[in-house]
């Protein structure tokens, strides 16, 4: 961690627009994020995954401004600098069936241009952190869905990223693994900017320092989990838990606007 990290803004998005052929996924999106664990909530099709892809530098914005670590993504040297410091777990990802889990994580360590001498240890550490050390030499096709997802998390954190993007990371994890995963999130969020997109509201309460609620390509709520709970108490939303009531109340208010 360099000293510059302390004064950098990790994510700065303003007036971001992403359009596909006919649909508009993001429509004038603004977001500023620093270190911490940031929850991204919203219904299906709200634009969460599109936002994650733009931040992961795999999708191009139609209009607007995106800078990561105070760098625009317009020239190749900046893009490369940013990508070295990035960890990304897409919602769906495939793997090479013949690769063992260790090889899979190692593959991405190399692609992220990590120094050769540090690769083996970083790979072991990442696998250990997702609790799969005992399965490291198993081929990926022999692992369960939840284990493959944890392998995906391991490749995302192998380079100790300063910006960690996790799209639906808890899908397929059992309750015990989810608790362990939240611990990992909190650890990473101490000095990195961690963005977790999820539709599981309880993940946000447990692990996130703040919540951004997205609906139809726009930010409709920004605050801490207690803020969202408070919005539910005053807005009279439906749900089984306080935070679920906050979620539905904010969404309903946004739709009526």
């Amino acid at each position: 961690m360099t000293a510059s990290t302390l004064v950098e803004t990790h994510v700065e998005v303003s007036d971001l627009v992403v359009r596909f052929r006919r649909t508009t996924a993001l429509d004038g999106f603004d977001l500023d994020l620093g270190p911490g664990v940031h929850g991204l909530l919203g219904p299906n099709g709200a634009g969460k995954t599109t936002l994650m892809r733009v931040l992961a530098t795999v999708a191009k914005p139609t209009a607007g401004h995106v800078s990561l670590f105070d760098r625009d993504l317009t020239d190749y040297p900046s893009l490369r600098h940013v990508r070295r410091r990035l960890g990304y777990l897409p919602q769906h990802f495939g793997y090479y069936p013949r690769f063992t889990m260790r090889e899979f994580v190692e593959y991405f360590a190399w692609l992220k241009e990590m120094p050769a001498a540090s690769v083996p240890l970083a790979v072991e550490r990442a696998i250990e952190r997702v609790g799969l050390s005992d399965r490291a030499d198993d081929r990926l096709r022999r692992l369960s869905g939840g284990m493959v997802r944890r392998a995906g998390i391991a490749q995302a954190i192998v380079n100790d990223p300063d910006l960690l993007l996790l799209d639906e990371p808890t899908a397929g994890l059992d309750p015990e693994q989810r608790v362990r995963f939240r611990g990992l999130l909190r650890e990473m969020g101490v000095d990195a900017c961690v963005i977790v997109s999820t539709h599981l509201v309880e993940d946000v309460t447990a692990a996130c320092t703040d919540v951004t609620l997205v609906n139809e390509g726009n930010v409709v709520f920004r605050g801490t989990p207690p803020d969202l709970i408070a919005a539910g108490e005053s807005g009279g939303g439906e749900g089984d838990t306080p935070i679920e009531r906050g979620y539905t109340a904010v969404l309903r208010a946004a739709r009526q606007r």
Binding site: V58, A59, R80, L86, Y88, F93, G94, A116
Partner: protein
């Protein structure tokens, strides 16, 4: 290390007659000093505590588990892992090129030529690396492409490594097929080597603008038209004659220049994402 634990201190430590503060000092020293570790080990071996130590050691070792197949991080290892993810390392890919080339060689050997100066091998062999490049990058085959696209080395570098691997696999197989067909010794042997290189480079160059899969289709289609077109009028295809070599060479050099100039286009995503 200049200071070592005295024999007397070792005996007192082992028998538990040392105060806490002194024991901690001894332990702090033991962490880093192999000779003193050995001295303590010897001293313990003759006491009742030997079994306790043995037990604690075994319990610790059992908990560690095996380390597994950890590889040292070297440039060669990096290359191996990158190549292993591409089509050149897939058994299905290897089997299909061997099959295609074998069939072409057998047909050539039996003398069933498309036209007298043209061997089927010379037509088919250049197409295989083009297909390999199409499969290398941005195709449906690479399931992890979305993660790869977010990495600094996932663009042109990975593409070039995989392309080189595809050529390295295809070329020897084509040579073997050529040997079998009996065309290696003759002057026709080079007719497939140069085109396969040039078509591969053209695919990369076009791919920088239209995506590699489409580029491969265009280049492959163009090659077939250039070869089969003249055959319809029973002429020898000009692209397979020695006269075409300078032109092919020029095309290849141009393609390299285009790839160099447009290298950044490989760093952004070359496939469509579903909204």
């Amino acid at each position: 290390m200049t200071w070592h634990i005295s024999d007397q201190l070792v005996r007192r430590y082992v028998s538990g007659r040392l105060g806490d503060a002194d024991a901690w000092s001894v332990e702090a020293h033991l962490v880093a000093c192999a000779p003193c570790q050995a001295a303590v080990g010897e001293a313990v071996a003759n006491t009742d505590n030997a079994a306790v130590v043995e037990h604690a050691w075994n319990a610790t070792v059992d908990q560690l588990g095996s380390q597994g197949r950890v590889r040292t991080g070297t440039a060669g290892r990096r290359l191996l892992v990158l190549v292993a993810s591409g089509p050149a390392a897939r058994l299905a890919w290897l089997v299909s090129i061997v099959l295609v080339l074998a069939v072409a060689a057998v047909i050539d050997r039996m003398g069933m030529r498309l036209s007298q100066p043209v061997s089927l091998l010379a037509v088919v062999a250049p197409l295989l690396p083009v297909l390999g490049v199409a499969l290398s990058y941005g195709s449906g085959l690479d399931q992890a492409r979305e993660i790869i696209a977010s990495t600094p080395d996932g663009g042109l570098r990975l593409l070039l490594v995989r392309t080189a691997a595809v050529l390295a696999v295809t070329t020897p197989v084509a040579f073997a097929a050529g040997l079998f067909a009996g065309s290696l010794a003759s002057r026709t042997s080079v007719t497939w080597l140069l085109p396969s290189l040039v078509l591969t480079l053209l695919t990369l160059a076009l791919g920088s603008a239209m995506g590699l899969v489409r580029a491969a289709a265009a280049v492959g289609g163009g090659w077939l038209v250039a070869v089969i077109g003249p055959l319809l009028t029973r002429d020898a295809p000009p692209v397979l004659t020695p006269d075409a070599r300078p032109i092919l060479l020029l095309l290849g050099v141009t393609a390299v220049a285009v790839v160099v100039v447009r290298r950044q286009s490989f760093e952004t995503l070359s496939f469509r994402l579903e909204p």
